[in-house]
Amino acid sequence: MKQQTKLTPKQETVAEQQTQAQAAVEFASSDELLRFDAAQTTVPPEITQRLQKSVAHIPPPLTRTWWKNLFGG
């Protein structure tokens, strides 16, 4: 059985300070806070699967010259 390592009081204090430092975050503004939140958000893959099924039954639009200009295709 693995033996647990016991921390000294000093080590415990350092560990506690590190934990607090990691947890406390400051945002200069609501813009910054929302940008952080947006960056943490990922799109559920279910949407991709649903869209794949949905667009499979729709013919792509014929006129898309702007699109080629946009992507250089």
């Binding site: 975050v25 945002f27 813009d31 929302l34 947006a38 799109v43 559920p44 869209l51 898309r64």
Partner: protein, 186 residues
């Protein structure tokens, strides 16, 4: 309210086998922004998922209507905003109450210059959602749009149908209301 499924850390891959590969690229580039707007505007992960699907499906159907006068992101945002606002109107949810809340929060002595301090990022999503839910649709939308660094004030103004100056003024009040309410969610 349950926490967004989006926070589970599953990355969405581009739908590479779609018939229109350009559309896959479009989805890959903009889906996060559209999903985030829907998520925080509607306040419900499942509704946001449905809305994001519907927005991109509408975009796919209307690709030939896009003339390139605005950026593709702005065009997608316009579809998303219309879609989300229609959903909110059909729910008749909280608009009158939130508007009065805005006035209360604006008059509160919000420390807008002070940083927003967060001790637990784990609960951050819930706090942000609670705060946004307390604001009017207009303030919520402005704050979400301005958080997208790819949008200019002019583009935001065009999206909400107001002048740039009006947007700046309302954003100032919206940030103040957000800060005041965010402090209360601790």
């Amino acid at each position: 309210m349950k926490e967004p499924v989006a926070r589970q850390g599953v990355a969405a891959g581009p739908p590479t086998d779609w018939p229109a590969s350009e559309f896959a690229a479009l989805y890959d580039e903009h889906s996060r922004a559209i999903f985030y707007l829907a998520l925080r505007f509607l306040g419900d992960p499942q509704k946001a998922e449905d809305a994001t699907h519907d927005v991109f499906l509408k975009a796919f159907r209307r690709l030939d209507q896009f003339r390139g006068e605005a950026s593709i992101r702005t065009w997608l945002y316009r579809i998303a905003i219309n879609h989300c606002q229609n959903l909110c109107q059909s729910w008749h949810n909280r608009h009158v109450q939130a508007s009065s809340d805005d006035l209360v929060l604006e008059s509160a002595a919000a420390k807008t210059d002070s940083p927003l301090r967060v001790l637990e990022t784990k609960e951050l999503g819930q706090r942000i959602q609670q705060t946004l839910d307390a604001l009017s649709d207009e303030y919520r939308l402005l704050l979400l749009l301005v958080a997208d660094e790819e949008l200019s004030y002019e583009e935001i103004a065009a999206l909400v149908g107001q002048s740039s100056d009006a947007v700046r003024g309302k954003l100032h009040r919206a940030r103040k209301a957000f800060a005041a309410h965010f402090e209360k969610t601790v």
